[in-house]
Structures are given as structure tokens and as C-alpha cells.
Symmetry: C2
Subunit: 430 residues, 2 copies
Amino acid sequence: MTAPLKSIEGTGDIAAAMADIGRQARAAARALALSPAAQKDRALDLMAAAVRAQKSAILAANAEDLAETRAAGASSALIDRLALNEDRVEAIAAGIETVRGLPDPVGKITESWTRPNGMTIERVRVPLGVIGIIYESRPNVTADAGALCLKSGNAAILRGGSDSTRSSRAIHAALTEGLREAGLPEATIQLVPTRDRAAVGQMLGGLDGNIDVIVPRGGKSLVARVQAEARVPVFAHLEGVVHIFIDKAAALDMAKTIVLNAKMRRTGVCGAVETLLVDRAVAPTHLKPLIAMLLDAGCEIRGDKTAQAVDGRVKPAAESDWGTEFLDAILAVKVVDGVDAAIAHIARYGSNHTDAIITDDAAAAEKFLAEVDSAIVLHNASTQFADGGEFGFGAEIGIATGRLHARGPVGAEQLTTFKYRIRGNGQIRP
Amino acid sequence: MTAPLKSIEGTGDIAAAMADIGRQARAAARALALSPAAQKDRALDLMAAAVRAQKSAILAANAEDLAETRAAGASSALIDRLALNEDRVEAIAAGIETVRGLPDPVGKITESWTRPNGMTIERVRVPLGVIGIIYESRPNVTADAGALCLKSGNAAILRGGSDSTRSSRAIHAALTEGLREAGLPEATIQLVPTRDRAAVGQMLGGLDGNIDVIVPRGGKSLVARVQAEARVPVFAHLEGVVHIFIDKAAALDMAKTIVLNAKMRRTGVCGAVETLLVDRAVAPTHLKPLIAMLLDAGCEIRGDKTAQAVDGRVKPAAESDWGTEFLDAILAVKVVDGVDAAIAHIARYGSNHTDAIITDDAAAAEKFLAEVDSAIVLHNASTQFADGGEFGFGAEIGIATGRLHARGPVGAEQLTTFKYRIRGNGQIRP
């Protein structure tokens, strides 16, 4: 049995409580920015150990969350996102250790040069400061996000979903123990102690300048609210309307392999393809086998007239299907007049997330990679590689489609900024 | 005589007119992002030539602005900022040529690596998109900002001050001619055709997502308004409360040379020092000669009790003098207990802009460079090097003290973002 939920509900002053959380986070961030890599890594080791040691308490807290959520009649999908078991708790601990194993991005000199007057200028990575993370029912985000912020020298203010309050609190208790034993401020990773949605509004306002960036983790409605209301920068993607274009110079075998993987490996991830564009020049040879393969694999196809003509199982696509993130075994299919038309379709309906071309024509590939304005563009590879782990970042806090600061997978490096260090020996400006 | 001021005043629909400007800018940005360096450079050459060719028209327009501004009883400082002459017009043209000579930041591959599965991933620079620039009376900003945005592949929406409307329009006409002759969209650089302040509000709202970042150029009240009201990211600094700390291991000669330059070379720039902190350990030897030198150079000193005691001309510092950007021949002087106290003072009163330490002690220097959380930190060099030109950036659109994306001098490179290009040969995700 976990302790009763301590909370600031009913105190009548959530704004004051949240402002205090912001001030504590800023103070922790200042200390953490100067913390050596070894101390941060020791804290991460201790956090992983504490998660394992407190497995029973975490599972007990999760059982309470599950009971309450089931009683409220939640969907099985929500229950699955919320549910922990021994394997999932172990995965949380192992995830912290993965982050611990990443190189420390802080202090890395990314550029240095010497001026004609002899001064040297260095550009060096420093932490961003305080990251606010607003998430929904997955309790593991508490540990994932907390660990990645710590690794990159940032303080974290975590606001989890109401469904997973007790689970997140139990995981957070383990993180706090690790921080304390490593001699780092406990306020390095704070969990907002209220289910009141007013706390989210306070975070979106930036807590008097004490939140530098907000990362929403969850469904489209959460991200949309954060993007619409936040007064501080947001690293996020609203949706991943991912396209694959089968160019006239695409090998059919490769096209089939990649499209099947990009759609069906996991249909609920943001890198899953949602619209297939096929060059009219190869529609006679490529369209039917691609569509048949997908239908046979259990994928619903919503096609334009040409696609409907090749297989009776193809449903007609509505205008709204272009630009829809199905997050399910559904694919919109359209025949287009070459690479330019594909690029124009993506510019109109895409979400600047991830798009791919399949072709053996290097010029067509380079044109597509240059002109499609998405965070990630691929040639002859599956769009499901849109993932920080697959990039080699080790861990990510999400994928961003904005243009400022972070774009694509947001890993430890993207949670840093930089400053300039100049060393002279008495130089003055003429 | 310039043409009468065309305007959207009184049309009753500034919002619609500004939205149209935003859409045109976005379309121009899409074209410009794919424009080769040679075409952009040719446009810059043609713009410089057009500025020179239209010198008479620019000076005539400026004379009208000056007459109106003088009649309204403006200060001599404002008149000086607004006034153009043959030399200043030539400097505008030469400035465009300087930007033309910079390397094109677009298309530069900043990182590339190969994954174990053989995929290559490249991180490549691409333009940010549309930059909004809101400025005051200096008409040269029209050309400086327009040229830098063009070089970095961005469309610009310029909103100059009311005082300089005709001057900015005349310069803008020259820029437009260069764009047209080079075959680039005229909407690459748009000048907002109204003095109505509602247009600024529209820009701060982001023009339906068609402004990616806003850069205010002007005084503190302009920057404060932009920072408070903008719904899009802002690259700016509100003020430069710049400190120099004279460590106990500072050579007096170097300290004198650097402090005199940092304060008196130009007192109105953001890198001018505003507060001098002197280590108590060297106050007996260093304080008096430093203060006497500055007083003799015509600088007012507002000092703490120790500083007041060394020279009768020192005025007492008020609490409000710490943290004030005087932008004048005035310096606040305080004795502190070592480097830690100096760092603490800067954390409390500084503006995260530029701060310097003078010392021969490498450990003290490294501590200061690591712990002072400013965009630019210097060791044994003048703070007046806080300038994009002095960094070797060739040109800058301003200095940013925010933590996201751009920090320090904002040059062509900081006006870009990036995307990931992935090349495979059929890879799928397991």
C-alpha cells in the first residue's frame, strides 16, 4: 500500500505552489549545469538500482492506478499503456542505464577558431536549463524523461497523467533516492503533486521564466493544447503524416519490402507510413502487387480511382484521407505524375515529420531529399527508422517538427544550448 | 521627390493585408530554400548596385523623413540615427557586398554518420523560413537585415520605424530591383506598407504560422514589447548589463587597457561594460588607478563605499545601479570577495549577455568561464568584442540572450535550421 496521495489540491493556491516548483527547478538547474559527468552518471546508476529495489512498491502503486482507471471504465488501450509488470519495471531501470551510457553532451566544444588578433573563440555545449514534460498515462515517461534531462544537465518538471499518478509518484520516489544518494539536488527532477489541470496551465505559462522549453508526450489533443497555449518554446510533433513515394525508377522488390515494414511493423508509431504515392509511369507494374501485398497482410487500402481499379478490395479514398494520420492498419494510396507531383502532394498534405522516396535514380532521390521540407527525409529505407534510438542517439524524449533548435528526434544533445568562451591576452577592440 | 506613400492605412483591414504578406513570404521562402548560392549572390550584387544607382532617390526620401521628424521636435540622437548621407548610403551598399561574400550556410553538412545497418545519416543546414524584423529609426537595417536573410535562404518581412518610412521604402525599392533582376521572388524581402502599429501586433501573432522567428532591432521598450507579446520565437537581448571582474591575479596594466576600451571605446553599444567588480585582495593596488584612469577619461563612477574612499570624485552607487545598462560614460564599481562573489553578483544582476574576467590565474579564469551563464564569456579581452563582425561572422542581425536556437551574435548560420537526410539500400526496421 502506498502512502496516501499528498497533494496541493484544495490549498487554493496552485499558482504559488507551481511558482515555487519553478524556482526550485531553476536553482537545481544552476547546480546541475556544473555537475561533472561522473556525478550525473552515478545518480543514474543509483536511480536504476532504486527502481529495481522498489519494484514491489511501484507495482503496488500501479495496481491502485489500474483499479481506479478500470473502475472508471477506461479502454483496454489506455489500460495497456498504464499497466506495469515485472518486465516493464525492469525495462524502466534498463532504460535509465542506457541513458547513463550515453556520452555527456555538456562541455563538448563543437567549434573553435582563432581570430586574426590572436583571441580564440570556442562554442561549447551547456544545458538548456529547465525542461517541462507534460505526459499522459505511460508511467515509464517519468523515468525516461527524468533520466534524459539529468544526463543533459537539465532540471525536469514532470506532469504526468491523472490515471498514472500513483505509479509516477512511486517511480519518482526511486529517482529522488538516486539523486539524493549522489549528492545532487532532489529538485533536479520534480513531479507536480496535483492532478489539477490548472497546474498544466501554469507550466504552459512558463512559471515566471523558470521553464525554458516544454515537451508534451502523448496524443494529438495534448500536443495541440500545448502548442496552442504555451508561452515558452515547445519541442513536439502534432502528427506524423508520413509518405512514401514509389518513383518510376523504383525496384519493385525493394518497394514491397520497405512499404510493408513502414506500414505494418507497428502501425501506431509516428514513423508509420500513412500515404503511399506511386509514380504513374510504374503504376501498371508496381501498383497491383504493392496493394495486394498490403491487403493480404491485413491492411485496409483507401485508394484513388487508379488504385481502386487494380483490386476490388480497395476502398475509395476521401479527400480527408490525404493528410490523415491513421495510426492503424490503413493506408491511403494515390497515383501521381512523377517526383514533382509527389513533392507537391507532400507539401500540401504532409506534417513535416518523415517522408521517403524509393528509387534507383540518384537524381530523383537527391531532388526529393532536397525539396521535401520534413525533419527526416529518406531514400530507400523504411520510415519507421524515425526514432532517436535508430539514429544512434541512445534515447529520445520525442520527435520535433518545429524549425527552431530541435528538429527530428530530440536526444540528449538537443536538450543543450551553447555559449561562447573567448580567451585573449589583453586584446582590445580598435 | 519620392512617390506618395502607398499604404494600407484606412483600408480597414490590416489583418487581411498582413496575412497576405505572410502567405507571400512563405511562398517566396519555399522557392528561396532551393535557390543556388550563385543566384542569391547575384541578387545581392544587384541589390548593392541598385542602392548605389538609386542614391539620389534614397537621400531625397531620407530628407523628407528628416524634415517631418525635425518638425515633430525629435531629439538630435534620433535625427542622427535616421539621417543618411552619401557615405552612409555607400556603407549600406558595401554592407550588402560583405554579406554576399560570406559562405552560404545552406546545404552545409554539419554531421554525418553510418549506422550498423549501412544507412548513412546526414544533418544538413536548411533555411529557417520566414524571419520578421521589427526595427526603429535606422533605415540601414532595411538593407542589412534583408541581405542577411536572403543569404541564409530566408524570406524577410521588415517593419521599420515610422520616422524612417520613406527612407526604408526607397532602400527597399533597390533591394526589390536586385531580386527581380536575379530572378528571385520579389516577396523574398517585403516591407510592411503601413505605419499602423496594428501591423506589429499581427507580426507578433505570427501571421497564421507564416513567421518562424522575430528579430527586434531597437531600444529596450521595443524589445520588451516584442518579448512580452510575440507568439513566435524571438532572437533578441533586452539589455547588455556587462560586467568585468578584476581578479586578485589580474595584471594592472592589462586591466586598465581592457577596462578603458570596454567602457569608453563606444559607450552606447551592448558590449560596453556597465559594472566593474574588483577583488578585495587587489583593491589596495588596483582600485585607485583604475578609477582615476576612468574619471580622467570623462567617465562617471558610481562606487560602493570602498570605491568612494579612493577618489573624491566617485559618486555613491545606489542599489539600482547594479544591473543598470547605462549606455553612457557611467560605470558602477564594486569590491567583491573573490571570484565566487563576482559570479554570484553577475548571476543576480547580469543579463546573460557578455561578461569578462581579467586574471593571470588559469584556474580562476576557467571557473569564471564555466560558471557565468552568459552567451559570451571572455578571459583577458575587451567585452566590446561582443559583435558578430568581431566573431568573424561577417554580419549579424543582433545578439541573442535567449537559450533556444540562437545565442550570442546572430549571423547567417544562426538563421538556418537543419534536417536529416538518410540514404539506404533497402533497410527495414527489425
